[in-house]
C-alpha cells in the first residue's frame, strides 16, 4: 500500500473534503502545564489546514501528538481521541513506527541526514522493506520530482545532502517524507528558517501536494496561511478559538481575538 505509485491518478476536487483525522477533546499536559485544552478539530482529506496562533499556544504540541512524537518527551501526557481510519491514534497498542510512515512530519529547521541526497530518501525506504535498486531509484526520483527538487539535484544524487542550500534541504526533507507515501503530512513552520524565494517554492510545493496528501501546516505567517490553506484553526493559550474555511476566517472572523491576531494586534 505504501508503494503504490499515484502519479497517474487524477483526483477529483470536491468542494468540502472528507475528514481524514478527527481530533476529539484532546488534552495534552507537560507535567502540570496544560498545553492543549479540549481541542476538537478535523483535518480534511487532500486539503491544507493551517494552524495559527501566538507563540507557546500549543500548535507544535498538537501537531506532535497526532503522530505520537510527543511520546518521546518525558512527562508528556495526553487524553482524548484522535480518530484516523476508524482507530484512535492515542491507543497504547498502536504501532507508532507504522503510524509515522502514514503520518509524516517535517520540522522547522531543515535537517537532512549527513548522507548523500540519494541515501537520505532511500534509507528510510529500505527500512520500510522496499527492495531492489530499480524500485528504489524510481521512488527516489518520483519523490524528488514531487518535491520540485529533481531538476536541481538529479546530477548530484551521490553528493552530501548538507551541500544543498537551506531551501533545497527543506524540500529534500519533504521529499524524504513523501517517499514513504504518507496519507497525512504534518509540517511545523516549514518555511520559517528560509528566505522568501525558498519559502515561495515550498508554498507552491505544498499546494501541488494536496492532490495526494492531506496537510497540516503550522505557520506564523498570516499571508502564507491565507495563500495556501483551505481551512485555518486559530489557537490561543492551548484552546482552539476559531476554526473555519480560510476565506471566511480571514475576511469575517467570528471572534474579536481572531481578528486582532490576524491583523497583527498581538502575538
Amino acid at each position: 500500500m505504501l508503494t503504490q505509485l499515484k502519479e497517474n491518478i487524477v483526483y477529483p476536487e470536491p468542494k468540502k473534503q472528507n475528514i481524514i483525522i478527527e481530533v476529539n477533546e484532546l488534552n495534552v499536559y507537560y507535567k502540570n502545564n496544560h498545553a492543549v485544552k479540549n481541542v476538537s478539530l478535523p483535518i480534511r482529506e487532500r486539503s491544507i489546514t493551517a494552524l495559527i496562533g501566538p507563540s507557546g499556544c500549543g500548535k507544535s504540541t498538537f501537531l506532535r501528538t497526532i503522530n505520537r512524537m510527543n511520546d518521546l518527551i518525558p512527562g508528556a501526557k495526553c487524553q482524548g481521541e484522535i480518530m484516523y481510519d476508524g482507530i484512535n491514534l492515542l491507543d497504547k497498542k498502536i504501532d507508532v513506527v507504522a503510524l509515522r510512515k502514514e503520518i509524516g512530519m517535517v520540522f522547522q529547521k531543515p535537517n537532512p541526514f549527513p548522507k548523500s541526497i540519494y541515501e537520505n530518501i532511500a534509507m528510510p525506504l529500505k527500512f520500510a522493506g522496499i527492495r531492489g535498486k530499480k524500485r528504489l531509484n524510481d521512488i527516489v526520483e518520483e519523490s524528488l520530482y514531487q518535491a520540485a527538487l529533481l531538476d536541481e539535484v538529479k546530477d548530484r544524487l551521490s553528493q552530501s545532502a548538507l551541500s544543498l542550500s537551506g531551501g533545497q534541504q527543506q524540500r529534500l526533507c519533504i521529499a524524504r517524507a513523501l517517499a514513504l507515501k504518507p496519507k497525512v503530512l504534518l509540517l511545523d513552520e516549514p518555511t520559517s528558517a528560509l528566505d522568501p524565494v525558498s519559502s515561495a517554492k515550498i508554498e507552491d510545493l505544498l499546494l501541488s501536494l494536496k492532490k495526494q496528501v492531506s496537510l497540516a501546516v503550522v505557520t506564523h505567517n498570516m499571508q502564507q496561511a491565507a495563500r495556501i490553506a483551505d481551512q485555518t484553526a486559530f489557537f490561543y493559550e492551548g484552546e482552539v478559538v476559531e476554526y473555519n474555511d480560510t476565506s471566511i476566517m480571514f475576511t469575517k472572523p467570528v471572534y474579536k481575538k481572531t481578528e486582532d491576531y490576524i491583523n497583527g494586534r498581538f502575538g
Binding site: N67, M69, L72, V97, A98, R100, K101, G104, M105, F107, K109, N111, F113, P114, K115, M123, P124, F127, A128, Q159, S160, A161, L162, S163, C173, R176, A177, L180
Partner: protein, 294 residues
C-alpha cells in the same frame, strides 16, 4: 580605559602561559628525538634485543606493542561503543545512571599501576593466564574502556536532537535511527577519540609490568600459528612492549649501550604516538569533509 588595560593584560598572560606550555612540550619531544634519532636505523628496528652485548634492537618490542594494542582495541572498541550508545541514548537520567557515570570517571582516572596490580591479581593469578599478551590486553582494556565509552557518549550527544526526531518521524525504530543516522553522524568524533586513546594505550607501561611481563620468548617470525609458543601471534606468551623495554633498559640493564637503546626506543615511541595523533586529526577531518560535502 581601565577595562581595556585589564583585557590586554589578561590576553598577554594567557599568551605567555600558552607559549610556555608549547615550549615545554616542544622542548621535551625535541630533546627525545634529538637524543634518540641518530640511534634509529633499520637494523635497530629489525633486530632482537640483546642481553649483554651492545647493538641490540627493538624488533620484538615494537611488534608486541602493536599486537597488544590491536588485541586491546579488539576488546575495547565494541564494548566501548556499546557502552557509549547505552549512556547517550538509553540510560534514563536517574541516580543509577549518575552512579555509573561516577564509576566510569573513577575508573578512567585510576593510576595505571593500580590497574596493573588488579590485572595481575585477576588475570595472571586468578585465571592463571600468567604474564601474557592476553592479561596485558585485558588490563589495558580496563584502563581504556571508560575513555572510549566517554568519547562515544560525547560524540553521540553532540549529534543534534533534530536528527533523532526526524529519524523517528520517518518511521525508523530507535535502534535503526541510532545505527543508520546517529552513529554515522558521530563517526568522525568516535574515530578521532579511538585513535587518540590508541596512542595512550600504545605508550602505557605501568599497567603492563605485572600483566604482560618483562620478557619475550624468542619469536619466530615465520611461524604464524597462533598456538605455537614462539609464534608472534600467540596471546598466551609473555610480551615486553616498547615502553616497558625503555623502563627495563633504564632500570637494570647491563648492556653497554643502554642509554642509546633507551633514547632510540623512546624516539620510536614518540614518533608512533605523533603519528597516531596526526592521523586522528587527518582522518577525522577527511571523514567529516566527505559527510558534509564541503
Amino acid at each position: 580605559m581601565n577595562s581595556n588595560k585589564a583585557n590586554r593584560m589578561s590576553i598577554f598572560l594567557i599568551t605567555c602561559c600558552a607559549v610556555l606550555m608549547a615550549g615545554i612540550l616542544l622542548g621535551l619531544v625535541g630533546y627525545i628525538l634529538y637524543q634518540g634519532f641518530s640511534h634509529i636505523s633499520l637494523r635497530f628496528l629489525t633486530s632482537d634485543a640483546s642481553a649483554f652485548l651492545a647493538g641490540g634492537g627493538i624488533k620484538n618490542q615494537l611488534w608486541n606493542s602493536f599486537y597488544i594494542l590491536f588485541i586491546t582495541m579488539l576488546f575495547t572498541v565494541p564494548l566501548g561503543i556499546a557502552g557509549g550508545i547505552y549512556m547517550a541514548e538509553y540510560a534514563k537520567p536517574n541516580k543509577l545512571t549518575g552512579f555509573m557515570r561516577s564509576c566510569l570517571e573513577v575508573l578512567s582516572s585510576l593510576p595505571s599501576i593500580i590497574v596493573g596490580m588488579f590485572g595481575m591479581l585477576v588475570f595472571v593469578n586468578f585465571f592463571h593466564w600468567e604474564y601474557s599478551i592476553l592479561s596485558g590486553a585485558l588490563a589495558l582494556t580496563v584502563f581504556n574502556l571508560p575513555v572510549i565509552v566517554r568519547v562515544c557518549e560525547d560524540a553521540l550527544r553532540s549529534v543534534p536532537q533534530d536528527q533523532r526526531l526526524s529519524g523517528l518521524a520517518l518511521g525508523l525504530t530507535k535502534w535503526h535511527t541510532i545505527k543508520k543516522v546517529l552513529l554515522p553522524a558521530a563517526f568522525p568524533g568516535i574515530l578521532t577519540g579511538l585513535i587518540l586513546s590508541a596512542g595512550r594505550v600504545f605508550g602505557e607501561s605501568a599497567a603492563l609490568l605485572f600483566t604482560a611481563g618483562l620478557s619475550t620468548p624468542n619469536l619466530d617470525f615465520t611461524n604464524w600459528n597462533p598456538l605455537a609458543p614462539n609464534s608472534p601471534l600467540n596471546v598466551f606468551r609473555s610480551a615486553e612492549t616498547l615502553s616497558v623495554h625503555i623502563w627495563a633498559v633504564n632500570a637494570d640493564s647491563i648492556i653497554p649501550d643502554a642509554k642509546q637503546v633507551a633514547y632510540g626506543a623512546a624516539a620510536v615511541l614518540v614518533l608512533c604516538i605523533l603519528l597516531f595523533n596526526v592521523s586522528a586529526r587527518c582522518l577525522g577531518r577527511l571523514v567529516e569533509r566527505k559527510m558534509t560535502g564541503k
